[in-house]
């Protein structure tokens, strides 16, 4: 799993809605194996103000075509420039970075919970879980139905459920209001989640109460992405750990969350 820096060519750029893009990049050389939960650090060129690379989960990978894709939510200058990358341009990428979710192969029942741009890391996760004969249920939470994209892709790997705060799709409320995280939670042996921290904490709390294994994928501000700057730490039972190398995936038992 050697980390490399290479220039990948933008071969497609799909505008999913007002502020979400899916960009697909192609490498001229074979790709390193990428594990679910890993991320890449992308360079933002042609921007007068963005200096550091920006981290993005690897949304999907195709080893035959040597392509990787990224699901980008525009929140500032870096994501704006990257999301608007024209087809044919090259983007400098550094990957694969970080650790990955645990992939059991014993036909386990696993709930995958995503919110916001956090759903990005859950696509190849759901695929890997499904490929290893696990039974996957996918629960996506959003503010409104327009924020929920790429559901049909998820449905290839498991049954998909949604909650929206305005009730425009699926159950009205938060993911934690869904029976999958309530009355039915006992079905699952594992819960994996990526999304806004308050959401992940609420999910982790449910998992914890029911003694279900729970892995969360954290974000933090990163300068390097490969364990050098020590800017991206989080508190764990073994002291400060780097989200970029010891994470981004952590078992909730190792975090010092008050849940």
């Amino acid at each position: 799993m050697r980390k490399t820096v290479r220039n990948l060519k933008v071969i497609s750029n799909l505008r999913l809605n007002d502020n979400h893009h899916l960009i697909q990049l192609q490498s001229s050389e074979p790709l390193e194996t990428i594990f679910p939960g890993q991320f890449a650090n992308l360079l933002v060129e042609n921007s007068a103000i963005v200096l550091l690379r920006r981290p993005f989960s690897i949304y999907s990978v195709d080893y035959k075509e040597n392509t990787v894709s990224f699901f980008i939510k525009i929140i500032g200058e870096g994501t704006r420039v990257l999301a608007n990358s024209p087809v044919g341009n090259f983007i400098s990428t550094m990957f694969p970075l970080g650790n990955s979710f645990t992939i059991p192969n014993e036909r386990e029942k696993i709930l995958v919970v995503g919110g916001g741009s956090g759903v990005a890391s859950l696509m190849i996760l759901s695929q890997a879980l499904c490929d290893n004969s696990n039974e996957v249920s996918i629960l996506i939470g959003a503010r409104s139905s327009t924020d929920i994209v790429s559901l049909d892709q998820f449905s290839r790997y498991g049954e998909v459920f949604t909650t929206t705060e305005d009730g425009s799709s699926g159950l009205k409320g938060y993911v934690t209001d869904h029976p999958l995280l309530g009355a039915q939670i006992g079905r699952f042996s594992r819960i994996y989640t990526c999304g806004p921290e308050p959401m992940m904490k609420a999910v982790a709390q449910r998992a914890n109460l029911n003694s279900i294994v729970c892995e969360v994928s954290l974000e933090n501000t990163m300068a390097c992405g490969f364990g050098v700057c020590l800017c991206c730490i989080t508190d764990t039972t073994q002291g400060h750990k780097c989200v970029c190398t010891d994470g981004p995936v952590f078992n909730i038992n190792d975090l010092k969350w008050q849940i």
Binding site: L51, T221, M222, A223, C224, V228, C229, C231, C232, H240
Partner: protein, 303 residues
Amino acid sequence: MADLSTTIHKLKLKNPVLTASGTFGYGVEFDDFLDVSMLGGIVVKGTTIHPRQGNQYPRMAETASGMLNSVGLQNKGAKYFASDIYPVLTKYNTNILVNVSGSTIEEYISCAEIINELDHISGIELNISCPNVKEGGMAFGTSCASIDAVVSAVRSVYNKTMIVKLSPNVTDIGELAKAAVSGGADGLSLINTLLGMAINAETRKPVLATVTGGLSGPAIKPVALRMVWEVAKAVNVPIIGIGGIMNATDAIEFFLAGASAIQVGTANYIDPLITLKIIDGIDSYLNRHNYSSISNIVGELQM
């Protein structure tokens, strides 16, 4: 191919490009990307006698052409370095310097004593300029009396090359440079980060958990160049220029201002191969201008 070799006191560098402490880990983090032995040297992470957890997070804020950090010298301590990290570093065929920090003079001394025992470490860089620790750190680096005290104390226990890293958060860097040299510094490196701060207008809160942090990156290069130039006029020991070096041209500017070598910091995060590109770029510059050696341009600023 021009002669890129340079010397800093007893250190013979195959080229003038080193990496700045805190921006290159222990070198091993870069093994996937490059052959670390091709560099003139590496300065490993800030090391203290006792393990340090460092500051709370957020520890980083990107600012215009720069970044603020408030890592706070997170490291596992000098003993762990000597027993667990040092043996791995002996595989590198380049100069390895340890950046030594402390909260008291005694801590600097104990740390330097441990490093002094390690054959493959060619020197230390005394960090009296860290803006991110409450006690010690930068406090030592901002008055002539305290610089002299800490530098001469470490000098008495450390007999290989001792570089002193200066803080830019001072009024007259030339005077402080003189104090470091009179304390026994074999060379000076500058600059460390500039104290700064970032505020999130939406939340009305500081971005960093520690409120203030150290600014690095291209934003600080003009300040660093000015300081290297002032220090070069004030003292007669070799200078290692640091601050916002992103490419070979930046490096050349530091040589012209009076630096005999340079360290690359923040740029390593953005392009882990940048140091090799800078070495190549320095070589092309020298060839293009018909200089046979790097020493031809050190301090050769045309006024």
